[in-house]
Symmetry: C2
Subunit: 284 residues, 2 copies
């Protein structure tokens, strides 16, 4: 994000706050940040604060950050869950300075060296409970994501946690479990030798950081349990077809799954990705 | 495959046998085949016959193909399962002309228009029960896959079916079931808008053809049931961690899954992908 905010001249200067001296030096060396400062100094000098740490740490750090910022500072986060984060600051006097956001993109890699440009372009950012932020803070965060080339969707924190449980968090668990299942059964050399493109793409997310993802699953565990239950039921349908030798139903299950092609390729969408910014209000 | 065999001059001429007049014309127009002929004429004029149809059809067509070929013709197939195919011709007088093979690559697309060059390069081809083929037929099929840039692994049909159940067929079911679970819960526009790269790569295989994959699952259903059972158990472990609020075990499961990174990136492999051809004999 810092790379793109430099490149697009959205930011004049980017100040990093970083616990790890190694990562701090890498971020400086790579030109990702202009300087590294302690938290209080960085907060005092910034117009916009972007909190990009694991979601359990956001819930802890955010009240302290809101305590320290000047009255006019805008704060956002990039966490994948929202209910617990919003709940942690719901009565804070600076609540309206905070615009909760979830840019839906990333890779399975982490650390300053994993930073790549153009990661956000054409992707969606969810902004949550936008009516609870002051208009100028909302406007600045919208402008931030527009500068990154993202489209914006507006949802309640509850709706975002439910939806991302299915379209983001569940796919991570399916990949982690697939890796564990294959590692439990197969010789490592056989996996390496035989892993086709299909296996590699399906299991890719299993490379993701437990430090980042465990708190996400944890904060969203009620919806994750729902998503896992639904998913296991759908797997059991495949199993029953094979067990009961019901070939017609097996083909039916796969034909239904094929509909994801139309959805992902946009045939059924109301949205034009080419528009510069699309603002949608989802209502349940 | 035909594209690459033209490009590498492995084949002087490629004759297509095709039921669909539309696909036959496309294959001619795209230069994938030099001519289209009826099966008996094509078999009479070919040195090497490559059977590339759904695996249930291979089991039916292969005895008829072996009936029709001249004594010196080599036959191979590209099916993803092997036990039922090999079983269908085990007592055929031309059994030794047939070299069962499974090149481990592909895309989720099908038909002549989906043909792409260099698909096979750097991938693995499994040759099964190679001791049952005559040496000259084995040699020609090995040369075929070497021309495509593939490495070769040798296995029994039983071992190939068990291994591919885990590293190829299971990932397809996990993707089909993920698509069905998400399609069952979420609004299509929400899926389209929010689908991140992570979701798209994990669910990609759900776009695969039921006509191709149902017979594969069907022929391999005993090992598929085993693989699905193992996979569901690993999913349930995640579910139990969330239900029992066991964060340590959750992190442990993800840390174990991370080992797939080392395996896929080759840190634990005995194999150098750069070698032109690697011939391995797996023994259980």
């Amino acid at each position: 994000m810092a790379k793109d905010l430099h490149r697009t001249n959205f930011a004049n200067e980017i100040i990093g706050v970083e616990n790890s001296p190694v990562h701090a030096q890498q971020a400086l060396d790579l030109g990702i940040v202009d300087r590294i400062e302690p938290l209080d100094k960085a907060l005092a000098e910034s117009d916009l604060v972007i909190v990009a740490i694991p979601v359990d740490k956001i819930a802890v750090a955010l009240p302290a950050i809101l305590d320290l910022i000047p009255a006019s500072t805008t704060v956002t986060d990039v966490g994948s869950t929202k209910r617990q984060i919003v709940d942690a600051i719901k009565d804070h006097p600076r609540r309206a300075n905070f615009i909760p956001s979830h840019p839906m993109c990333g890779t399975e890699n982490s650390g300053p060296k994993a930073a790549i440009e153009h990661l956000f372009e054409g992707k969606i950012c969810i902004i949550c409970d936008h009516e609870e932020g002051k208009p100028q803070h909302l406007a600045l965060v919208e402008k931030l994501y527009q500068a990154l080339g993202m489209s914006i969707a507006y949802m309640s924190s509850d709706e975002q946690d439910h939806t991302t449980a299915f379209v983001s968090h569940l796919p991570h668990v399916t990949a982690f479990a697939l890796a564990n299942a294959v590692l439990a059964i197969e010789d490592r050399n056989i996996i390496f030798d035989l892993a086709s493109g299909g296996f590699q793409s399906t299991v890719r997310l299993a490379k993701s950081s437990p430090q980042m993802w465990a708190p996400i699953f944890w904060q969203n565990r009620d919806y994750m349990l729902e998503a896992l239950e639904v998913y296991i039921q759908h797997l059991k349908e495949f199993k029953e077809c094979l067990k009961n030798e019901d070939l017609d139903q097996l083909i039916q299950l796969m034909t239904n799954a094929n509909k994801i092609r139309g959805v992902l390729d946009g045939e059924n969408s109301s949205m034009t990705k080419n528009e510069e910014t699309i603002i949608k209000l989802y209502t349940k």
